[in-house]
């Protein structure tokens, strides 16, 4: 019944919260700022009359985020979905970051999702739940930009494979979406080669597939073609794509 959304306060996370609330799911919303969470929780509870709990924590600094989530779940109906639309990128992620900044990117994009999945896994398996991970088109082929971000997102794909390999399909659904450009604050003002998708549209598709098997796919779907082309580019052409 309950869906857990990590990174719920903005962008795709907020859209997922709206979509799930509309379908009547109780929610546990997790983000760094209590002000954003309280506003979102109040709105969803008023509009859709669903139970919404919140947990404010900074994933870059939280030692054991999974334990806190488990504690917050105690007052909610059983959780059957864990969605991790959490991510942080920075424009200066181009071999110019110090160790602290690299650590922050890895903590939010990789460590936190892994730690949360590890902590919640027994409970999720017991309920035949769905774990939804979110990769990125940036991880298709390593470039001189988004170096740490893309590394973390590619590592997340390995985690997806591990989860699938270790758990039978009737025990745990594992879904990975490689996201293309979304119209969020992350892409606001960027010159993008393709128009960004509305988070609400993507959220609708993700929520519609909850509990429906394990897979990885691109969203929006047209980015599958973009990824194919990127991979097919000969090295001498690809290395010239510096923009």
């Amino acid at each position: 019944m309950t869906a857990i959304i990590v990174g719920a306060s903005s962008g795709l996370g907020r859209a997922l919260a709206g979509e799930l609330a509309q379908r009547g799911h109780p929610l546990l919303l997790i983000a760094s700022d209590a002000r954003d969470l309280q506003a979102l929780a109040a709105d969803l509870a008023l509009r859709h009359e669903v139970e919404v709990a919140t947990l404010a924590m900074d994933l870059a600094r939280e030692v054991d985020p999974g334990a806190r989530i488990l504690a917050a779940l105690a007052s909610l109906p059983p959780a059957t979905a864990l969605l991790l639309p959490v991510g942080l990128s920075r424009r200066d992620d181009a071999f110019g970051l110090g160790a602290g900044a690299i650590g922050e990117l890895l903590a939010i994009n990789l460590h936190a999702p892994l730690a949360i999945v590890h902590a919640l896994l027994p409970m999720l398996c017991e309920r035949h739940a769905t774990v939804v991970l979110f990769g990125s088109i940036a991880a298709v082929r390593g470039r001189g930009h988004n170096v740490v971000y893309a590394s973390a997102k590619r590592a997340l794909e390995s985690a997806y494979e591990s989860l699938r390999q270790a758990h039978a399909p009737d025990v745990l659904h594992v879904q990975l979406y490689r996201l293309g450009f979304l119209a969020t604050n992350l892409t606001w003002g960027l010159r993008l080669p393709l128009s960004p998708a509305a988070p609400a549209t993507v959220a609708r598709r993700v929520v519609a597939r909850l509990g429906k098997g394990s897979f990885k796919r691109y969203l929006p779907r047209r980015f599958a073609l973009v990824a194919l082309l990127l991979r097919a580019l000969p090295w001498f052409v690809f290395r010239r794509l510096r923009g």
Partner: protein
């Protein structure tokens, strides 16, 4: 969208700016402006303290109140959430970026509504407060400030401040109608009213503006009260007063109130101006046949709240040259003379006037807001840059000034700093009251630049 600059730091993570071309609703001002779209509270603090800025809602004010070439527009669209609703007492707390149409859609099925709403359903709550807008009968309901119980204001360097009539009362009063110059409104608690089941809309034909003023004064307590008038010289001022009374018995026709039906924030103009003299004559003739006979109809409240939803093609018809809305409030003792002088001016200048509307006001002018006691007249003029149109606008302003009129700053793009100072006797006192909270000129827009606020 143009180039982006992004700054990262401990407190600026996620700050993103886009360069965007923004136009006022009347299309009289366009600028390349920097726009931030904060989607979390933390990002309200992400701009450097000394960066000039102005809050932006849906960008539907007639004039450029939410942007300017010298300021970052903080688009509050993500702050559109319901925060609290007490169905028993009729209080609702919402974030400032919520569109008034969306809020009415939430409230009406729950037995409450906002009695004061501007015509455009996409106007945001923050914008309604900052412009202190009026609704369908300001004489009965007052202006938007009458609904505001409490505010939250973001002031750079000071964070989020809670204000009401008792706590920080001066700042609260200055913020209502303060054109965004005291800070960024982030949330508001509003007092609601029980809606009528339907509106019985009575039509009272009038031969001229003086008669219209008399009818308006006699119907001051109507739920909906406004006049439509012909703007052509031969029939100037003739028209009809729409007088809406609550009707609990009638069953109104079904109405599609889905968000998709809302007038868009930005209306693509037709490639040419439809509203030439012949088209205006045809439209007025059609409206006269439709409205200018005594009668009554029953309408759902929602249709009376947002009449502009049916006006998409009307606004598109102004073309890329746009329109200008002249709206002045003239005191009762001066209104008949004002109407007569205006009629003479229209006969002499033969301007193209697409619409004339009238409303009754019975309040007190707070700050620079559009309120007072008298009759407000609004005129829509196509192609205001055309010489004849421009000449008429200038003469209209002089006539209104001569009759002690008060201009609506949020509507009229032809106003200059000098005219406004002549029209609002205590303008300098009001300006200084706002400047107390904006000493470094951090909050600014094209509107405040034009009026030297």
């Amino acid at each position: 969208m143009g180039a982006m600059s992004m700054t990262h730091g401990a407190d600026r993570r996620g700050l993103a700016l886009a360069s965007a071309q923004l136009s006022s609703f009347d299309r009289q001002f366009t600028a390349q402006a920097q726009v931030q779209r904060p989607d979390r509270y933390r990002l309200l603090d992400a701009l450097p303290l000394d960066t000039p800025r102005i809050a932006r809602g849906s960008g539907v004010s007639y004039v450029a109140a939410s942007f300017g070439s010298e300021a970052v527009s903080q688009d509050m669209g993500s702050f559109d959430r319901l925060l609290a609703f007490d169905i028993r007492t009729g209080l609702v707390c919402v974030e400032a970026g919520m569109a008034i149409g969306d809020l009415q859609r939430f409230l009406l099925p729950r037995g409450w509504y906002l009695p004061i709403a501007p015509g455009h359903p996409r106007a945001t709550i923050g914008g309604c407060i900052a412009a202190d807008v009026h609704g369908k009968n300001p004489a009965r309901d007052g202006t938007f400030r009458a609904l505001v119980e409490e505010l939250q204001l973001h002031v750079p360097g000071h964070g989020l401040l809670s204000l009401d009539a008792h706590h920080d009362a001066d700042l609260f009063a200055a913020t209502c109608g303060g054109l965004g110059l005291t800070g960024t409104i982030t949330r508001a608690t509003l007092r609601l009213r029980r809606p009528p089941g339907a509106i019985a809309l009575r039509r009272v034909p009038v031969a001229n503006l003086a008669e219209a003023a008399r009818v308006l004064r006699e119907a001051a307590n109507a739920q909906v009260l406004y006049g439509w008038h012909d703007g052509q010289s031969a029939r100037f001022g003739s028209g009809v007063i729409h007088l809406g009374l609550a009707d609990e018995e009638a069953t109104p026709p079904a109405l599609d109130t889905s968000p998709a039906r809302d007038l868009p924030a930005s209306i693509a103009p037709l490639p040419f101006t439809v509203w030439n003299a012949r088209a205006i004559a045809l439209a007025n003739s059609w409206l006269r046949r439709r409205w200018c006979a005594p009668g009554m109809s029953v309408a759902p409240l929602a249709s009376a709240l947002f009449p502009l939803n049916d006006a998409r093609w009307y606004f598109a018809g102004f073309g890329s040259a746009g329109l200008v809305e002249l709206q002045w409030l003239v005191p009762h003792p001066r209104f008949e003379a004002f109407a007569a002088a205006l009629g003479e001016c229209v006969a002499r200048e033969q301007p193209r006037i697409a619409l004339v509307s009238s409303k009754l006001f019975d309040g007190h002018a707070h700050g620079l807001a559009f309120d007072g006691k008298g009759i407000a007249l609004a005129l829509h003029l196509p192609s205001p840059a055309a010489p004849r149109q421009r000449a008429f606008c200038e003469q209209f302003t002089q006539i209104a000034l001569a009759h002690e009129g008060r201009p609506n700053l949020i509507k009229d793009a032809t106003l200059d700093a000098d005219s406004v100072r002549r029209a609002i006797a205590d303008f300098e006192v009001r300006r200084l009251a706002l400047a107390r909270y904006n000493a470094d000129g951090r909050f600014r827009s094209e509107l405040t630049r034009r009026l030297a606020l």
